[in-house]
């Protein structure tokens, strides 16, 4: 599924744009001008990676500082253990689109429980 995110001109370098879909996805514009899309929710707990610390091709989770590689979704160190999903980004006529991955997301336990209807 191709989802329109925002205009490229509206996403400065060093910033992220969160798409409020379920689960949320974020598009990152790196300082070098590259665009990446990953699942927005940290795989450790309920934190938005769009709120994190972007450096090079990595985003550091705003809560407990695990770092995710925007290119592969891989996580570097605890407390998070699982990678995030990556999605393809396409720019057409100045508009950023996200091609959603078909893989299953790695959501943190607190959110998976909520989705399954259990206690948050």
């Amino acid at each position: 599924m191709m989802i329109p995110a925002c205009r490229l001109a509206d996403l400065p370098r060093g910033e992220a744009h969160r798409l409020d879909i379920d689960p949320p996805v974020s598009v990152f514009h790196t300082d070098d001008g590259e665009l990446f899309a990953i699942d927005d929710t940290c795989t450790h707990q309920d934190a938005s990676l769009a709120d994190g610390w972007l450096e090079g091709c990595e985003v550091e989770c705003p809560l407990h500082a695990s770092k995710f590689d925007l290119r592969t979704g891989a996580v570097d160190a605890p407390p998070a253990k699982l990678p995030v999903r990556t999605h393809e980004v396409v720019v057409e006529d100045g508009m950023i689109y996200v091609q959603l991955s078909l893989a299953a997301p790695n959501l943190p336990p607190c959110i998976s429980a909520r989705l399954a209807g259990g206690p948050a």
Partner: protein, 386 residues
């Protein structure tokens, strides 16, 4: 270097072992730990694990198929460091010979003198502590928490959510005044009253009463607080007694440089047991927070492998988080250095402040309550080289 011994098998020890392998060390690696458990994460012990929403298996710090090619000597305590003989002696009589040593023995909860052997009295530092406290909280009743610091406040918050009647006793006029300053300490500890948890401040604890089981906390002003369960959250002390007599410089923990080097060659210290030189603050500081125990081993291992021949970089300002009553509290920097604190976003009453601490106009610390995005921006700015 052919053998490295890491003493302490928790976050700082595991991070050091990982740094060794990441930085290309392929020699023998021995990790000694006195707890019988594989390395596990402590922050959830006062939060999700205590609340019963996180299972024990989820505390593991190691990845499922992680293999550091290390020899793990668990359930055995190091009792001496013999620097001349380049070895660590263990309580069971064994010895580990090595060329490099990483000291990562962390800290232990302080206790109240005279409370030993009284049932219903707990401290919280280890998985075993947390199991015992969790089982006790499940029975319900009146909980008195002695100490309004982060651990005490988190236990109070978790127990409140479990339905217990909770009182927090704090000797200082305001809890958290040390780490956050008085004004913001009051704002954050206002969370207790917001939820109907009683906070008794400015009075010390004289002792506990009870025959075999605790039944009350006795205050210095003569009051007595009835209690079914008591949690003593009065801070931690570094686990360095075993190093006495080794010749290493000790001062509120293992005294070390900004890169973890100690007074002995080939020995570095990391995590809660290490009293690091902080170039930003201009003095030594022992920081008892997760992120330091996780990140600083990288620098210490670089120093160990280079045999001291590398220049230490300036570490990021100390950072910690705490979760209380559903509010994410984050702090970075040095509150004590500040001459002013201003609320830049949110409000104290709304319990969603983003407050910036400044000294002579320059930001030196930042506090956030449920403000992760703004907090990260300020934290990044604090960490930028000036």
């Amino acid at each position: 270097m052919r053998t490295v011994a890491v003493v302490g098998a928790s976050l700082a020890g595991l991070s050091a072992a990982r740094s060794l392998r990441k930085q290309g060390y392929d020699g023998r690696l021995v990790v000694v730990g006195d707890e019988p458990h594989r390395p596990y994460d402590r922050p959830p012990l006062s939060k999700e694990f205590l609340a019963g929403s996180l299972a024990e298996a989820e505390l593991a710090l190691e990845g499922d198929d992680e293999d550091l090619a290390a020899e793990w000597l668990l359930g055995t305590r190091a009792v001496a460091l013999d620097h001349r003989g380049r070895k660590v002696r263990l309580a069971d009589g064994r010895e580990v010979r090595a060329d490099g040593f990483v000291l990562a023995t962390g800290a232990a909860a302080r206790t109240l003198p005279g409370s030993e052997g009284l049932a219903g009295v707990h401290t919280l530092r280890t998985l075993d502590d947390a199991r015992a406290l969790r089982d006790e909280l499940a029975r319900g009743g009146r909980l008195v928490v002695i100490g309004g610091g982060f651990i005490g406040a988190e236990v109070a918050s978790t127990a409140y959510a479990l339905g217990l009647e909770v009182t927090v006793v704090e000797a200082a006029p305001t809890p958290l005044a040390g780490p956050l300053g008085e004004a913001m300490g009051a704002v954050v500890s206002g969370l207790h009253a917001d939820h109907g948890v009683r906070l008794v401040c400015g009075v010390g604890v004289k002792g506990l009463s009870g025959e075999s089981r605790v039944d009350a906390v006795l205050l210095e002003d003569g009051r007595s607080l009835p209690a079914d369960i008591v949690v003593v959250g009065v801070g931690a002390r570094p686990n360095v007694e075993w190093l006495e007599g080794s010749g290493i410089a000790l001062d509120n923990g293992v005294k070390c440089g900004a890169d973890g080097r100690t007074s002995l060659a080939g020995v570095v210290a990391v995590g809660d047991c290490a009293n690091w030189y902080d170039p930003r603050a201009g003095h030594h500081r022992r920081v008892e927070h997760w992120t330091g125990a996780r990140e600083r081993p990288d620098a210490a291992i670089a120093t160990l492998l280079a045999q001291g021949a590398v220049e230490p970089g300036v570490p990021r300002p100390p950072y910690f988080w705490s979760d209380q009553y559903g509010v994410k509290i984050q702090f970075a920097g040095h509150a004590a250095a500040a001459d002013s604190v201003t609320v830049e976003a949110g409000s104290a009453d709304g319990r969603d402040v983003l407050a910036v601490y400044r000294r002579a106009g320059d930001p030196v610390a930042v506090l956030g309550m449920n403000q992760p995005r703004l907090f990260t921006r300020w934290r990044k700015q604090l960490g930028a080289p000036r």
